[in-house]
């Protein structure tokens, strides 16, 4: 059985939900916030710049209508890369649990280039969220030239999985299992 493509290749200067953006540079402040901002003098501070592959989470309509100054994105990895740090996922059947939506915070997407090979799939980590300025992300996306955009209905499925993680409610107690 062959897998229908999840992605469409694009080359345009627009941002949409589900845009796959490899190699984003994400600055993280590592300076002591209590020693900064006492006055308006220029100061030298240390930041950490991380290179991450990200996927856009902000709704396309908000991006289209410039309703947001910041874009919400989250980390996306090749599953082989993810397994290097998470040996437990090398176990047989573990990715099937993710595929069925039973592993909170992780979501699988087929490979853009070889969707039939599940070993080349991508895994989104909804617990690793970043926000970056709209113009910054747009510039990076435009500079990538040919890039991948998630197609419907895989896009809505991805968006729903993110929503499901955030809308979950923990109860203090529950009816005992039958």
């Amino acid at each position: 059985m062959s897998v229908e493509p999840f992605w469409v290749q694009i080359n345009e200067s627009t941002l949409r939900q589900g845009d796959y953006l490899p190699g984003c540079l994400v600055p993280i402040p590592v300076f002591d916030p209590t020693n900064f901002g006492k006055n308006s003098e220029i100061q030298d501070v240390q930041i950490e710049v991380n290179e991450l592959d990200l996927i856009v989470l902000t709704q396309s309509c908000d991006l289209d209508n410039k309703k947001v100054a910041q874009v919400v994105l989250c980390a996306i990895y090749h599953i082989s890369e993810f397994e290097e740090n998470n040996e437990a996922f090398k176990k047989k059947g573990k990715w099937n649990e993710v595929l069925r939506g039973r592993t909170e915070g992780l979501h699988l997407l087929a490979s853009p280039t070889n969707p039939d090979n599940n070993k080349e799939s991508l895994v989104v980590n909804f617990r690793e969220i970043q926000t970056l300025p709209y113009e910054y992300v747009l510039k990076h996306a435009s500079n990538l030239n040919d890039r991948w955009r998630l197609k419907s209905p895989y896009l809505e499925h991805f968006s729903q999985a993110f929503a499901r993680l955030f809308m979950r409610v923990g109860l203090p107690s529950a009816i005992p299992p039958f």
Binding site: P27, F36, S40, I42, E48, N50, E84, N86, K94
Partner: protein, 97 residues
């Protein structure tokens, strides 16, 4: 082995339902002692199934956690920054009606 089945209501033709269920674990035991052993074995099997399901649940709960993947590249740099004060709220744009 002959089995007792309930009378089928008119117009309904389901598959016959056994009134006396055969033990799953040791169906071949027929003597009174044998049936006792079979019933006991069935109960043990049921309990073990529940324990197995519980252990599987515990195992899966224990495995769902994971570590974040480190970035492909990470560098610490010095940045010249100026504190510009507390940021004002952005203007809220209403949809055109």
């Amino acid at each position: 082995m002959a089995t007792i089945t309930p009378l089928r209501p008119k117009g309904v033709s389901p598959s016959p339902k056994l009134l006396v269920l055969e033990p799953k674990a040791t169906a071949q035991l027929q003597s009174p002692e044998g049936r006792k052993i079979a019933a006991l074995a069935d109960e043990v099997l049921r309990n073990l199934t529940v324990v197995k399901q519980y252990l599987q649940t515990l195992e899966s709960i224990g495995e769902i956690d994971w570590q974040p993947v480190p970035p492909k590249r990470s560098e610490r740099v010095m940045m010249r920054a100026q504190f510009k004060g507390r940021k004002k709220p952005l203007p809220y744009i209403f949809d055109e009606e």
